[in-house]
Symmetry: C2
Subunit: 346 residues, 2 copies
């Protein structure tokens, strides 16, 4: 983009957060652009996806994958443009998606890159409504929640990347869908744009009471993205045989110790037993087999406008840390993306 030799800007994990991350937990570093090895392509990052799961990767605790090592580049999924290729089937000018991390250039083997066609949909949607968050929502509904017409579905983080798709798909399945989001503006968007039957502002008092009113026939599906107070507000409303796909628990990610007592686990387990709840963890890589079906189903809905999405774009990789910190506090409004370089297809 300029005559200066290109620089690879990277965001590293400098320190493991205690509780909520702070900017000092990250470090910005400029270095040389990597050389693609045999079989690899060199990609210039256009878009970086920021997602709540990233908080878990910052902890030195066993999880579904190993954590990011101190001093390593933060992990993340990107869309970019191939600038040089030693990978079969990829050429400069191709657009691809891959787990390039928080950096402005990356090299990955060809089999770790998925080609993305900007003619089909905006490139950034392959990180959101047509990417991992959308696939998560779709597959969690298909495999665990299985909403049936007439049932009531509650979705937290309703204006977020996963919640917005989950709620709209449940609406299309004929359910009554009640969202919960932070603030009046988000709630208006969820009701007016996304078409949920109702959206409750979690910043207003008596969430539990308002939720009970909004769910007069109880709750059959709770799409768990949030945890915390919303979890406890939903629990007493769950109907017999309710399903709770546990996709996230953003209210719990920043805990550096367990909350004060009493220990409410017996209350949860009693509800599980007496109401025969199904509480099941969900992680989208387990459901790669559903990816073609997801795209076949959801892409036409997006193109026709029956399924809406909203992006929250932050300019510049150097702003990624504060954007992630803000997301964990609920300050994003829609799918959070970092624009790392200008997208020539927009």
């Amino acid at each position: 983009m300029s005559d200066a030799p290109p620089v690879n800007r990277r965001v590293l994990l400098a320190r493991r957060p205690k509780g909520a991350p702070v900017p000092e937990d990250f470090a910005l570093e400029d270095g040389p652009v990597p050389e693609p090895r045999d079989g690899e392509a060199l990609v210039r990052t256009l878009w970086l996806s920021l997602d709540p799961y990233m908080r878990g990767r910052m902890n030195d605790a066993p999880s579904y994958t190993p954590p990011v090592a101190l001093g390593d580049v933060m992990e993340g999924e990107c869309v970019g443009r191939v600038e040089a290729s030693r990978a079969a089937g990829l050429s400069p000018g191709d657009y691809v998606r891959g787990r390039g991390g928080w950096q402005s250039w990356f090299a990955l083997p060809g089999d770790k890159l998925v080609r993305v066609d900007p003619q089909e949909a905006p490139l950034s949607t392959s990180l959101g409504v047509l990417g991992m968050p959308g696939h998560t929502a779709y597959a969690a509904l298909q495999t665990i929640a299985r909403p049936v017409a007439g049932e009531t579905v509650v979705v937290g983080s309703a204006s977020g990347a996963v919640g917005a798709v989950a709620g709209q798909l449940a609406k299309l399945a004929g359910c009554r869908v009640v969202g919960v989001a932070g603030g009046a503006e988000k709630c208006r968007h969820v009701e007016a744009e996304l078409g949920f039957d109702a959206c409750l502002d979690r910043h207003q008092p008596d969430l539990a009471g308002r939720l009970r009113e909004a769910c007069a026939e109880g709750v059959d599906v709770y799409v768990e993205l949030v945890g915390g107070d919303l979890f406890w507000a939903v629990l007493p409303l769950l109907n017999l045989h309710a399903r709770i796909p546990v996709i996230g628990g953003i209210a719990w990610y920043n805990l550096d110790r367990l909350p004060e007592g009493p220990d409410r686990t017996p209350q949860l387990m009693r509800a599980v037993l007496t109401r025969r709840l199904r509480v099941e963890g969900f992680l989208v890589p387990d459901h790669a087999d559903l990816a073609p079906e997801f795209i076949r189903t959801v892409a036409p809905l997006v193109r026709s406008g029956r399924l809406r999405f909203r992006e929250d774009v932050v300019e510049g990789l150097e702003n990624a840390p504060t954007a992630l910190i803000g997301m964990l506090e609920g300050r994003n409004f829609g799918k959070l993306l970092v624009q790392v370089s200008p997208d020539p297809t927009r």
Copy 2:
């Protein structure tokens, strides 16, 4: 049995327990034998089944069915002999099973009674290994646990009515089965008679450490009957995609308040998410459709001796309250039954 007119001895719920039930929560009352109405049969109780779920029915709290009302007969399943019948297809001398409650005589409509054949198996087994507890174990394995050969299955209350069947069925499915029971004698029985690979005494120190040693490859199925310390000991050992049918939680039934903190719910939900656990409540009446398959599968195993059972028989209805109290403390050893009248088929 004597020349005196027969008396209906009944055990009533006199008071709702606070925490662990005490004898004063029950009342013994003698009254007239009921008259069968049109369509009903009059049954003399031979065997009364005592089961952990009865503790829940004593609370004035919503559960899967309404609680026993104060002053009402305690609920329970019985096997008895028809002594008079106004029900089509039932005649004096027939043996039947039904929810007659804690009383020595009861009258129920014919469609609430299931005929039991003492030629097929001892009458009492229709309350245990071939009755509701066995059906529970069978159906929970079929519908939620789905153990696969080579997997590790942990069963609490391993010498009890449900645990013994669940563990033996998992063994027959080719699993490694680790039981937990209270005391050395029960553990010997579980290993030597029931054929579990190991049985740990929950009264000895460091249950968590011993369980970790006994489950070197982690735990794929935890048949939840117990709750409490065992639950927390199993949780860190659960493998990816482990299944936890929640059938009971005897350690939690007597709580009159939640345990002291911290609140460990986020720890549980984090494990559910990162290890994609399936935690699902199970109640056997939801699975009546599996009853024929259960009997077809398990009755031959019982007859051939490949599936063993042990009964713990208490004589006399007046001893039922202390027997239930003892069971909630783990003092029974095998399927707990009250012999209400002599069984003429034994």
